[in-house]
């Protein structure tokens, strides 16, 4: 079997998407931690265009952008499929993955560095978007993938663990059980899945990381900030 390497950065939820997919499919891989303040020659060689993590290297060939990597993993290791087989169901899953990327990102960028009253306003906007996801994608299902987790759950995984730390750093909660009851339940169910539970960054370290990052963003606020410097996917 060809060698699989993953270039990552420990707090990145995008990197964890790839870790979960590989673990769910029982694919052996070497994990290489990147210091993003001092990018390695390996990273610059394998992702010269965007210079970001995660990067998956399979048999010497590099694939970048977490969503592209997830689809590659799904096609290369078809066991334990993460996408539905039916083309229309598959298209729906991909639609919601795109939705998360396009609709949530600008709202997240407004929420994470928000101060004072902006925080409540940004939280409310976030809740409106998440309500759409809750109503039209999750519905009454246990997971986005149905009875078991699938690619949509993996992609929204940030909301299940990283987001709690961000909420604590911001000081205003978004996923309130009274407002988003099913999504709140999903968060708890998702974290209990064994592959997920066994593959999460350290909570304390992550909280400290986001608090520091938020302080930097708040003090640098003159142009539109980005919530993370490690990956845009």
């Amino acid at each position: 079997m060809e060698e699989v390497k993953l270039l990552g950065f420990w707090p990145s939820p995008f990197v964890y998407r790839v870790i979960w997919a590989l673990k769910l499919k029982d694919v052996q891989f070497d994990y290489i931690e990147e210091d993003l303040s001092n990018k390695s020659e390996l990273l610059l060689r394998y992702n010269p265009v965007l210079k970001k993590v995660p990067v998956l290297i399979h048999g010497g060939k590099a694939i970048a952008e977490s969503l592209v990597i997830l689809e590659y993993i799904e096609e290369t290791w078809p066991q334990n499929p993460l996408l539905p087989k039916d083309p229309h169901e598959k298209a729906l899953a991909r639609f919601w993955i795109q939705f998360g990327l396009e609709k949530m990102r600008p709202i997240h960028q407004a929420y994470f560095p928000a101060i004072g009253e902006e925080r409540e306003k940004a939280a409310k906007q976030y809740q409106e978007v998440l309500k759409i996801v809750e109503d039209q994608c999750l519905g009454d299902q246990r997971f986005f993938g149905g009875e078991t987790i699938g690619m949509v759950d993996i992609v929204y995984g940030m909301l299940a663990y990283w987001f709690e730390c961000m909420e604590e750093a911001v000081g205003v909660k978004v996923i309130e059980p009274s407002i988003l009851p099913r999504l709140h339940a999903w968060v708890n169910n998702f974290k209990q899945v064994s592959v997920i539970k066994d593959n999460l960054p350290h909570h304390g370290k992550l909280l400290a990381y986001y608090k520091t990052l938020r302080e930097k963003l708040v003090s640098a606020r003159s142009t539109l900030p980005t919530p993370s410097n490690h990956d845009a996917s």
Partner: protein, 219 residues
């Protein structure tokens, strides 16, 4: 049961253009419904309640929204001819990476160019746009198309935007030929294909449209 394919469309939408080309390449018969963007049809609102946007592909009553999602769907369902994606998983991932790059970077420049960015802001947009187009030129290399000998995902993703950039070229905002010399010949090659020329407006037709719009606004 015969396939029923409907496309909720808008003739100058770059995203809708992608699907029209794909459907033509695959020889798929479909009903085209032109939407009025300030008077959206009930069918559009029902088929894409989340975004209320075109294009929407409706196959046997089931809607598929988001142009790249629809392109993947088209390629999977009508897999007997004109593959839009490479068959090798690694090459597929590269095509998806570059299509994603077009969607993330190029589309935002297109928006800024048309929203009337001025002066220094315009210069920054132009510079960033050309940097991105040059990277794409590198990816094209010496191939006739991004898909190799035939049109592929990246061709379909980029062509509608490149067509619109050619309009700016005609207005003298910049010179594509000077900045990204491989792009204009690639656009021309694409339009030599019937599936493209019969599906989407050419840069000349887009230019005429813009001139007409500008003249009518001045009246």
């Amino acid at each position: 049961m015969a396939d029923e394919v409907v496309l909720l469309d808008y003739w100058i939408s770059p995203y809708a253009m992608r699907l029209r080309i794909a459907l033509a390449l695959k020889g798929i018969e479909y009903e085209r419904k032109e939407e009025e963007l300030n008077n959206k049809s009930p069918l559009l609102l029902q088929s894409n309640p989340v975004h209320k946007k075109v294009p929407v592909l409706i196959h046997n009553g089931k809607p598929i929204c988001e142009s790249v999602v629809a392109l993947q769907y088209i390629d999977e369902v009508w897999n007997d001819k004109a593959p839009l994606f490479p068959s090798d998983p690694y090459l597929r991932s590269q095509a998806k990476f570059w299509a994603d790059y077009v969607d993330k970077k190029i589309s935002s420049f297109a928006r800024k160019l048309w929203s009337g960015a001025k002066g220094e802001e315009m210069e920054v947009v132009k510079k960033d746009l050309f940097d991105c187009l040059r990277l794409l030129e590198g990816e094209l290399g010496d191939k006739p198309f991004f898909g190799g000998e035939t049109l592929g995902l990246v061709d379909l993703a980029l062509l509608p935007f490149a067509s619109w950039f050619s309009v700016h070229d005609k207005f003298g905002t910049f010179s594509l030929e000077a900045e990204c010399p491989k792009i204009p010949p690639w656009v021309k090659r694409c339009f030599q294909m019937e599936s493209v020329s019969e599906s989407v407006p050419s840069p000349d037709q887009l230019y005429d449209y813009v001139v007409k719009m500008r003249n009518s606004r001045q009246e």
